[in-house]
Every structure is written in structure tokens, then in C-alpha cells.
Amino acid sequence: MTILVIAEHNNQALAQATANTLTAAQDLASKTNSEVVLLVAGQACQSVVEEAASTQGVAKVLVADCAALKQQLAENVAPLVVDLVKQENITHVLLSSTAAGKNIAPRVAALLDVAQISDLIEVIDADTFVRPIYAGNALATIKSSDGVKVLTVRSTAFEAVEFSAGDATIQSLPEAAEQGLSRFISEEVVASDRPELTSAKVIISGGRGMKNGDNFVLLEKVADKIGAAVGASRAAVDAGFVSNDMQVGQTGKIVAPDLYIAVGISGAIQHLAGMKDSKIIVAINTDEEAPIFNVADYGLQADLFDVLPEFEAAL
């Protein structure tokens, strides 16, 4: 039996989330006596293929390299995956619970006429999985009766594999068809020297208490001293302080760094859903009653505009 993982990449390197998804796949493989196959769909993605083939625990890398797959649009990737599932003895298809994975996975599942299980956090056996619902306030153990399971994997629930020490075979696939449904126009990816939110070891996030977007500079100064990523609550995004890709929470990014510093964040259910699995949580807030203090390992009740400069100076 085969477990197919759809690699996430930018035609140059594998995304970090794929490293976590591969751990989930290998866990599943050991429980079902299966092998893990990684699909790299893209264009001119040779460096990704090499990285994939040298990843420990990957038995085979399937390569679909053609113009129709350059931007990995769901309309073109999904039929390719469906064909693979039908031809090979594939029992599970795994993608990361990222914007890219969440875009593609349900299209694959529906074309296969199977249910999808989103945000996998634990593998019980070949058919049974645990996933969070209601913003992580409940954990559901779910058993699937479908012959093929399509799953998205929550990165924070699985360690990352190293993209090394492997020796997978590489197999090229025939060119994928251009479905003619969608066309890529442009992409704006914010360039930053700071680490990515979802893979950062330390995150400092701001909420409505920051008062405006300009004040996020105070967080950035601290972040730059300790190599942290900068996040935000939905309230801060809603208020227009910062862009949505910085949002940590139920409908934003799910993170679990070693240290999470919540500044001026009250701690709504939706925000807690995105960060409560962090190892150490620090809350800085003027409101003694703020729910964020209930999940914080260390709480400092003080004015963030006094605390942040002092904190930066102390680092």
C-alpha cells in the first residue's frame, strides 16, 4: 500500500510544512505497513526533486514537471492526483493544512468521491484520526469508511523530518493537462528577514491594544533582537493595523513555537485556537481579567507601551 504526500514548494525548495506532513505520513506508514511516496508537481522544479529524493523515509518521488503545473493551481493539480490514486495502490493522500494544501485537498477528495479529514493531529490507525473542531475546543476522533482517505495535516502536531539522509527513486510522470479553467496573474509575497510565522521558534504578536499599525514597530524591534516572527490577533487585522497573513488564530495561522509573547491581546477563543499549543506563553496586558492570562505561563499586567521598550533594552 502507498501513502501519497503532495509536496508543497515554490519550484525551488520544499516548504517547511511538508517536513511535518511527512512525519504524519511516516507514522501512518508504520501503522499500516505502507510506503511513503512524495509527489512534486511544478515546473522547472529539479532542485525540489533532489531535496525530496534525499529526504529520509521517502521511498519514491513522483515528478510532474510541466507548464500547466507551474503555479500548482488546484484545477490542474487535482485531476493529476486523482489519476495517480486510480492507477497506483494509494490508500491515503496527505497534504499540509496550509493555504496551498487546503485549496487543493477538497478538490481531490470530491473528484474521488471520498470524504476529507481536515487538520489531522493524531493517527490512530489506517481509518481513524483525531482532529480539532470548534476552534480547538473539542477534539474529534473520526473513522472513515472510504477506500481512499484524503487528509490535511496540522503542522504543529508533528515534528519535522530533515530533508536529508534519504535515497528515494525518482519517477517522471506524463505531462498534466491544462484544464483551461484558471490563469495565474501575479503573486505578492512579503519579503522579510524575520522567520516565517508557522516555523518560528519565537513569536511576538500584537492585538487591539497596539492601538495602530505604526506601533507594531515596537514588536518588530523586540523580534529583531531575539529572532522572532511577528504575528497579530484577528482584532488587530480587523482594525486594519496589519495584513491578514500575520493573523494567528482559528481562521488564520496555527502556530506552536517554543515561546509565544502575546502583547495587548485579550485572548478571544479564536486567537487561543491558533497558539495555545505553544510551549511557553507570555501575556502582557493592562486588563487583569483578560482571558489570555488563563493560558499564559507568565503574565505581566502592565502597559505594553512601557513594557516593550524596557523588554527590548533588557535583551
Binding site: 484545477e75 487543493i104 475546543n137 473539542a138 516565517e196 497573513d245 523588554f311
Partner: protein
């Protein structure tokens, strides 16, 4: 152009839910229910398309028991023209809902379907993409901007680390993200008017869709609570503690 919007009745975002003591599910009795926030954004976007003359008619659909008529009326009060309730007492999975919506898309000759990116109860983030697959439509998920130009939907999508712009051939499926728009409040006259707008009921049987479940929920548990933390009085005390923890 006809636009379809799907809405879901969910536990209100501000309710702290509880897992039932027998671990069979989540206790949703006597809690406040609302229209799913992302569905509300979808309704708003469709109504704006109508107001700008791009859409001729906005049809709102919900799949569920009769209680979901409340959310359909909310959508009508916000400006949708008519409503369809696909009536079922069953707790349906996203695939079944997508199949039902696909039948409505076929029957109504829909050019654009707008759905929320996820519902805040199941957190699945599946139904829109599944509908697009079944209908053979293009998909613009996690949209933060939508324009209809020359028979295409130009969609700005929220992706990890930034934004992506795509051109989608119609008919197309859009799922809404937070920044697409800010939904209006329904005015009292519009709420009154909504009561007289047409709302029809159909059943999954009439649509000839097999809605049998593929998944079984074995149990629902409450996640482990975090240990109670401590308060620190000063920044220097905080820095000291974090150094001891080895995270600074």
C-alpha cells in the same frame, strides 16, 4: 448573471462550547446561534455585485433543519433575492452538502457561487472546493478581492506569506476570507421586507443526492488544559524567568 450564496447556521463565535459528559458530541442546546461569519461576508459580496449591476439575482441556500430559515431570512434582509432551504435533520458532511449545492447550481444555472472559506464549528474548509470540483468550476479560495471583468472572475487570494491574483473562467466558485468586505447591518425595513421574500424548501431526495455519511465520530474529547501560570511583577523578572526556561 445569477449568484448563489450558501449560508450555515452555527454556534455563535462568542460562545464557549462544552463537550458533552458522555463524549458523544458538543452541547449546543440553548446556545446562541448565528450565521457563520464567513457566510455573512459571502452574502455581502453577492449583494454588492447586484448593487453594482454585475449580478441580476442573488439566491441564498442553506442545508439543514427548519431552524436554518432564521439565517436564510438574515441573508434576505441583507439583500439576497430569494432563498432555498434544502431540508434535512441529518448532520451532513461537507461532501454531501457540496453535492446538494451542485444540484442547485445546475438547476438554477448559476454563474458564480460564493461560500465562506470555513464554518467556525466544523472548521473543515472543504465545501466550496468540493462544490467547484463537482461542478467542474474554477475556484478562487480565500478571496480578499473579487472583480468580474470580460467574463472572468479576477480574484485576489490570501496565501501563506502574501497575496496571489488569478483569473477564473466563469462559472466559478469563490470562498471568502476576512478582508473581502465588511458586512452591513440589516435595517429594520429590510428585515420586515425579508419576511415576504420567497423561501422554498426542497429535500435531498428531490435533488436525488445520496447524503449517507462516510465518517463516523467515535468520540469527542476536551483538549488537555494548560497548567495554571504565574504572574510576574516586572520586565526584569519576566526576562529572568524566560532565561531559566531556556527560551531567551
Amino acid at each position: 448573471m445569477k449568484v448563489l450564496v450558501a449560508v450555515k447556521r452555527v454556534v455563535d463565535a462568542n460562545v464557549q462550547i462544552r463537550v458533552k459528559s458522555d463524549n458523544s458530541g458538543v452541547d449546543v442546546s440553548n446556545v446562541k446561534m448565528s450565521i457563520n461569519p464567513f457566510c455573512e461576508i459571502a452574502v455581502e459580496e453577492a449583494v454588492r455585485l447586484k448593487e453594482s449591476g454585475v449580478a441580476e439575482e442573488v439566491i441564498v441556500v442553506s442545508v439543514g433543519a427548519d431552524a436554518c430559515q432564521e439565517q436564510l431570512r438574515t441573508a434576505l434582509a441583507l439583500g439576497a433575492d430569494r432563498a432555498i432551504q434544502v431540508q434535512t435533520e441529518a448532520d451532513l458532511e461537507p461532501l454531501a452538502i457540496a453535492k446538494l449545492l451542485n444540484k442547485v447550481v445546475e438547476r438554477e444555472d448559476i454563474s458564480l457561487a460564493i461560500l465562506g472559506k470555513q464554518s467556525i464549528d466544523g472548521d473543515n474548509n472543504q465545501t466550496g472546493q468540493m462544490l467547484a470540483a463537482l461542478a467542474g468550476m474554477s475556484q478562487g479560495t480565500f478571496a480578499s478581492n473579487l472583480e468580474i471583468e470580460n467574463g472572468e472572475a479576477i480574484v485576489t487570494r490570501e496565501i501563506d506569506g502574501g497575496l496571489q491574483k488569478v483569473a477564473l473562467k466563469l462559472p466559478s466558485l469563490i470562498t471568502t476570507d476576512l478582508r473581502l468586505n465588511e458586512p452591513r447591518f440589516a435595517s429594520l425595513p429590510n428585515i420586515m421586507k425579508a419576511k415576504r421574500k420567497p423561501l422554498v424548501q426542497i429535500t435531498p431526495e428531490e435533488l436525488a443526492v445520496d447524503i449517507s455519511p462516510r465518517l463516523t465520530t467515535l468520540e469527542i474529547n476536551t483538549p488537555a488544559a494548560r497548567a495554571v501560570g504565574e504572574r510576574v511583577a516586572t520586565v526584569s523578572e519576566l526576562v529572568e524567568k524566560l532565561k531559566v526556561e531556556g527560551v531567551l
